[in-house]
Amino acid sequence: MKKNILFFSIIGLALIIIWGLYYNTQKKITEISMASLLPFDGKVADMGEMMKNGQTLALEEINANLKNPKDSLKLYFFNTSHKKDVALDKMKEAYGRGIRFFVEIFGSDQVDHCIPYALQKDLFLLSGVDTKPDLVEKGKGCFFRIMPNDAAASNIILNWAKDLSIKKAAILYANDDWGRGLKDAAVKMAQKYNIEIIDTRDVITNQPSFSALATLLKVSNPDAVFLFVYADDGGRFLKEAQRQKLVAKFFATENFTGEKLVNNAKDAADGVMIVIPLNNQNSINLSNFTQKYIKRFNQQPTVFSIKGYDAVKVLYDVILNSGQDVNKAKKIIKEYKSIGISSEISFDKSGEFIPNTYDRMRFSKEGNTYVPKPIRN
């Protein structure tokens, strides 16, 4: 009798364990999972944090407004330290956890390195920041983005420079895929705008001094300098340019938003012009988002927070409509259309983001600091 009780108890316990395991597995399947591979230390850690904040806000909104509890979203953050090998390791780790959808791999270099694995494992990548022109082509249908590529950004800067009657320009660029991509695109298209690129100079990571570059550019006397460098380097260069009285107009891209530029350049940030891929600065959506963001994180959102937010929303919609099927998702996104916080979001047949108008902004003094303010044309 005792033996029977023991036997049935063991069987019962085993059934409970099996049921528990099965329940957990089912729970995992019904939950929508995404991974976000961001840099949380190193040179661009601030951008990683900004994106994380934007993505977190989107995640919280989605989970607070669920129609079906099965559709709850889980977002896993991984720190890549802005290194491509680490990014690939983290992608493999995420894949090991059963994640097939990636809402960010921060950095074109990193994406480039991860694409072969993503293709091999049939993963879906969506980015809000990666701008290297050939990524979509290389991704062969697995990589999408909601950020215009370098060619679009260079085009907008050149167009603005042309409007300001700039004839000669010099380029300072970060010696990585991102910086080189922007530089190459600007050099290629400058002629179309009757702008002569008189010099291009690379900047290395943590360059100790910018005095030689500022001296050189001062002598070549350009009307404008395009700064395709990281915000801290850009800020330090501007300070040096101010010291050496280099008189030129300075243009840059969205990465000059945030505090790093002003912290380094101080008052030399005054008048710096930037183009950012937002085209509805005064929209109700953006102002609502800004209010929510400030309430949640006690800071102003930047283009990285906005793109992070939009990317999570887009990917969530695509996953819902595809029933978590990666191949279906790849087809659905090409037909996708929505109004995001940053701009209208849609893709062409190849999967490339269709860029909208950029906002032109100029740094000017506000209180004790300098902030980018939109310029109305």
Binding site: D41, G42, K43, D202, I204, N206, A212, R243, K260
Partner: protein, 291 residues
Amino acid sequence: MYQNQFVTKMNIELVKFGFNYGILLALISLGFALIYNVLKIVDFSHTDRITVAGYSFYISTGYFNIYLSIIISLIVASLFAILTERIIYSTLRTKGSSALMLSSFCFSLITQSLLILIFQSDQKTIKYTEHAFDYSGFFPRELILIPFLLIFLFLLDQFFRRNRIGISIRAIISNYERAVFFKLPVNQYISIVFGISGLLAGVAGVSLAISNGVVPTMGFKFMIYSFAACIIGGFRSLFGVVIVSIGFGILINIAEAYTSALASEGIALGLLLIILLLKPKGLFSEKLRII
């Protein structure tokens, strides 16, 4: 003709700002050379004193005015150097120069890792706005560094020539065993040398923190250049080290303008290699000399 004028003007500017960079290198290299002379090792953790001074300055400016912050940072850098020597190097001194050098390298990495853990690896900037003088193009701190270095060299010279402790330190440098035999307070005197080198690193650290902000690896970039300046100058001629550091600053600036930032490092180190092949003991005197 018109273009030549521009090129000449550019070269003058490059030399001017290179000189300025060289002064900073000289401060760091001098500290390197002083430590080498007493311990006969290359102290890899010397450039971390720059970083420690930078972070001390960053923290201090949050609470005190800039002048008090500078003083605090210099004291912290000197104490850090002295404590490093007292706690780590003095216990390993008997184990030979290889053990000392390895421990200095390990300590450098540990310091950087600790700073990353405490402050994270992203750049922190100092809330202080500086403007260059109109007529010279130099920032006030840069103009202070030039007389500081000259006065410091003069005082160091007088210290080693006329002061009892200075003369004793020279005795330690010349013959460590004999100095121990004559019961000179070797440990205290070595600590004084470390304190002086920490002070020099502190000055460089504060200047760098104002211009570039602080990151845990901010000193590391200068290790190669300072090390090279010491070898070319000859570790034992402090004046030679200063001259070569200034020359190095100018060379790096010119190379950067005419080639690229990446190539300038290669050119500087290429020069080091050539001089090492031609004059393995450096360009200047082999005896300890200041001027």
